[in-house]
Amino acid sequence: MERVPILEIGGVLLVSIQIDLQDQTVLALQEDLAERISDTGAHGVVIDISGVEIVDSFIGRMFATIASLSRLFDATTVVVGMRPAVAITLVELGLTLGDVRTALNLERGLKILGELRRGSR
């Protein structure tokens, strides 16, 4: 089974999904991520899905799950780079991402986290 790498950069965990997600991969990612956040004490998680072309409801729920999960460690989740087709699919499926923040690209996602951090200090 493929594992999605989690990178740490300036107190933010960066998850870049470049593969077709299987349900198993998603579950493993959630576990890994929970562990990494608690280890590093990161204040933010950025999930880059610009490489994802196909989503289903399971993956749609993953974002909400990861968001509530990281909220427990006081970290904010930002989903970046969602493609139009993916966004339309998620809306058609009637899924809302809960309290997940979104941004057009990685740069803006990091900017949002930076602003939030400055705001909370």
């Binding site: 989903v79 969602m82 139009p84 993916v86 809306v91 057009l104 803006r108």
Partner: protein
């Protein structure tokens, strides 16, 4: 004489070709009231006449038959050109029917029973051919309509940049699912391309909104939000506002503004841009 049985008319129309075509052009030009030049008609009719000649003697009863393929395609072409230049189908068909009268007058009174029967066959052949032009005409019109509605779809959904980071789609006319889909996709694609964080859908020019259209607009706004952009809907007319409330459509936390100007001001404020009148000017 026996060998010429059933062929006498064919001989006449072949030998008198130039006279017939000339009179035919004159008769047709009259009904088209000079919108086509005589030279043009002459060229067109000569072409038709050439493929018609070998068919004289048939009564056109089975017009789908193989031997009619050539004349059908010639007539179809003629009818299509006419359709595009805005003639009525009757005008096109009467161009064909005009030939009947020309030939009848040429034969005149010296038609015996034999020739008379041939003339009847010829007449029904021309009737069938006239109907062919009619059919093609309708089909050509359909094609034009389809083409135009496609062009309209493209034309009426421009995504315009109002400011750095602010895109707008001014919608005009009637919204249906197909069009809203195009708008939705185009807008979202443009958000990715330009990296704009604000989108405004202006529906000032939209005359009617039903539940389905409202659903589509909401979906577009939600999809934009999923991608990390904010979508504002502006220009809701008073009647449409009433409809929306009466239908019980909830726009949730999607921002709606009265006019495009308000929506732009809102977007600029969110972008952190302040618009100030130059000193001494403005109100």
């Amino acid at each position: 004489m026996v060998a010429e049985d059933g062929r006498r008319l064919a001989v006449v129309v072949r030998e008198q070709k130039d006279v017939i075509v000339e009179r035919w052009v004159r008769a047709a030009a009259e009904s088209l009231r000079g919108r086509v030049t005589a030279a043009e008609l002459d060229r067109e009719f000569r072409e038709v006449y050439a493929v018609l000649l070998p068919l004289v003697g048939n009564d056109g009863r089975r017009i789908d038959d193989e031997r009619y393929i050539e004349i059908r395609s010639v007539l179809a072409e003629m009818s299509r050109t006419r359709a595009r230049s805005g003639y009525t189908p009757s005008e096109t068909a009467s161009s064909v029917f005009a030939l009947k009268r020309v030939v009848f007058e040429l034969i005149g009174d010296d038609a015996d029973a034999e020739l008379f029967r041939e003339l009847i066959d010829f007449s029904s052949l021309l009737d069938a051919l006239g109907l062919v032009t009619f059919e093609t005409f309708a089909r050509a019109r359909e094609e034009i309509i389809t083409e135009q509605s496609e062009q309209l779809l493209e034309l009426t959904t421009p995504v315009v940049k109002l400011w750095e980071g602010v895109l707008a789609v001014p919608l005009v006319g009637t919204l249906d699912s197909a069009r809203t889909q195009v708008v939705m996709e185009k807008l979202l694609e443009s958000l990715v391309e330009t990296g704009a964080e604000h989108a405004i859908i202006d529906i000032t020019g939209v005359l009617a909104v039903d539940t389905q259209v409202a659903q589509h607009l909401l979906k577009t706004a939600f999809a934009a939000r999923l991608m990390g952009a904010e979508c504002t809907i502006s220009g809701i007319r008073p009647q449409i506002a009433q409809t929306i409330v009466a239908l019980g459509i909830e726009f949730g936390d999607i921002t709606t503004k009265a006019s495009l100007a308000d929506a732009l001001r809102h977007a600029l404020r969110r972008e952190g841009v302040e618009v100030v009148a130059a000193a001494g000017k403005g109100r």
